[in-house]
Symmetry: D2
Subunit: 156 residues, 4 copies
C-alpha cells in the first residue's frame, strides 16, 4: 500500500464550528483525491480534517506531540507518537508535500513559516494571510484545488 | 482507514542476505496479521521488512532520519520525513506498540534500550540478546508469534 | 558557574552589515548585563551576536542544527550539537527566557511564533513586526533594555 | 568565554549513595581539568556530577527532557530546555566529545550505544560493560584519566 500524495493540514487545537466544518470538508476532498492526510493529530482543525478524511476512506496520519497514542483524536487512522512537543511540527512540515492552513494562531504561524522555509507550498484558508509566499483560498474546494495546482507546478 | 496494531522492525541499514530474507518474512507475516509496520525506512533490514510487508498488501511506514522522502527504500508505503537524525529512533520506539530486532549494531542496541525503557516488548531475532528484558526468537514465525503474544499479555 | 538570565538572539544566517553590527552590539550589551546568550550558532545575525557577547567576556551558546561542533561560528563559546535541523529552533525558544529578533526571514518568523506560543517575551529589532504580541525596538540599546523590562514584568 | 573540552556524564536519575559520590568526584575532576560537563540535568548521577563540577567552579550544562528550566537539579549551571523527552539523549551524545557512564539502566545503555555509533569514546564506571567498544574504569580518577587519554588518541 502506498500513501500517494501527502498533504498537511494545520490549524489550532480549538476551532470554531465553522473552522471544524471547513477542515472536515478539506479532509474529505483530500481523501477523495487519493491523498494521505498528515496533521498534528489533536483536536479542533486537526480533528475535523481527520474526520473528513477517515469518513471518506482515506488515511489520516496524526503526528502527536506527546508520548502516548491515546492522545490522538478518534479519527486518526495512524498515530505517529513523537514525544517531541512542538518540534513535531517540524516533522509535519517535512513530511507533507504541501500544506493547507485553516485559521490557527501562533503554532500555526510557526508551522507555516517552517513550511515556507522548506519551500513547501502553503494555502491559507482564513489563516495568517499577510505572510509573503502563501496562497489564499476562500473555500475548502478552492484550498484543495490550489494545493494540487501548486504541487503540479501550475499557477493556482 | 485505521492502522491496527503498529509493530516496529529495527536492524542495521546494511544486512546479510540471511537477515534481509528474515526481515522480509517478518514484514510479510506482520502484514498478513493486519499489523502496520514502522521502521527507519532505509536499507538492509528496514528494506527487507518493508518489502515483505508491502508485497503482502500491508502498510510499511518509514520514519526517515533525513530531510527528503526520496531517502526511503522503494518499499516504503508512507514516508515520515523527520530530519532528526538518530533522534528519529526515539519516534519509532514511541510509535511502535512492540518491536522486533533483527541482527543490528549500535543503532539497533540504542533503539532496543529505548524501547525497553518505554516498557515496550522487544523480540530479538539474532540481535543483541544479552540485554535483560528481551525475548529471544529463532525464526521469523517465532518472532511474530511472540510479539503478538507479548502484546496480548500472554507468556510468549 | 551559573548562567544567569538566558536571552535568545534570532535572525538570519546571512545578514547585512547593519544587522551584523546591531547583533554584535546586542551581544555585547547582554554580556555586560550578565546574561548568557543562546542562538543558533551559525553565521549572520547569530555570529554577530556571539562575537559581541564573547568579546565582552560573556558566554555565547550556539545550538547547532547539524551533527558537528565545527559548524559553529568562531565566536561560539559553547556549542550544543543537536543534529535536529530546524527542530533545534524549538530548543532555542524553550531555553531562552526572552528573545530578541534581528531582521530575519521565514526561519526567524517561525521561531518568533514558537516563542510567543510558549509565552516568552520577544523584542523585534527591525524584524517581523506585524505579529501581534511582539515588542518593537529601534536600536540595540532599546532592544536589550526592553527585553529585561519584559522579563521583570515591567511595561517596556 | 569558551567551554574547552566538553565531556558527557550519563547515568540513572536515581542513584545509590556510592554512585552519587562517584559522579560528584567525576564532576570535580572534570572541572579541575578545565572541561565543561554536559549531562541530562536531572537527579541521581546527573546531580552528583553537576554538584562536583559546580563546587569546583566548572560549568555544568543540563540538557533537560522537559519544557521548563525548573526541572534541573540545583547544581546545573546552564539549563538547555529541550522538551524532547528521551530524544534529548541524542543531543547529549552529539554535544559531548567523550562520555563517562556511571551505573545506569536502559536509558544509559541507549545513550552509550548512540555515543558509540557516533564514534565517541565511552568510559564505563560500573556501568554496562559487556558492550563492545567501551573502556572500563574502576574509580572516578581512572575514568577521567582514561576519557582524556581516549580524546588525545592515546591508549587508555
Amino acid at each position: 500500500m502506498t500513501s500517494g500524495v501527502v498533504i498537511g493540514v494545520i490549524g489550532a487545537g480549538r476551532a470554531s464550528d465553522v473552522a471544524y466544518a471547513a477542515a472536515r470538508e478539506v479532509g474529505r476532498l483530500l481523501a477523495e483525491a487519493g491523498a494521505t492526510l498528515v496533521c498534528g493529530g489533536l483536536g479542533g482543525v486537526m480533528e475535523g480534517a481527520c474526520r473528513g478524511c477517515t469518513e471518506a476512506g482515506g488515511l489520516a496520519v496524526g503526528i502527536l506531540p506527546g508520548a502516548v497514542a491515546g492522545q490522538a483524536n478518534p479519527w486518526v487512522g495512524l498515530p505517529i507518537v513523537t514525544n517531541l512537543g512542538h518540534a513535531r511540527n517540524i516533522v509535519i512540515a517535512h513530511t507533507a508535500q504541501a500544506l493547507i492552513a485553516i485559521e490557527g494562531e501562533y503554532g500555526t504561524l510557526s508551522e507555516i513559516a517552517v513550511a515556507l522555509k522548506l519551500g513547501k507550498p502553503v494555502v491559507s484558508l482564513r489563516s495568517w494571510s499577510d505572510v509573503p509566499g502563501m496562497t489564499r483560498a476562500d473555500t475548502p474546494e478552492e484550498a484543495v484545488r490550489k494545493v494540487f495546482a501548486l504541487l503540479s507546478g501550475r499557477n493556482p
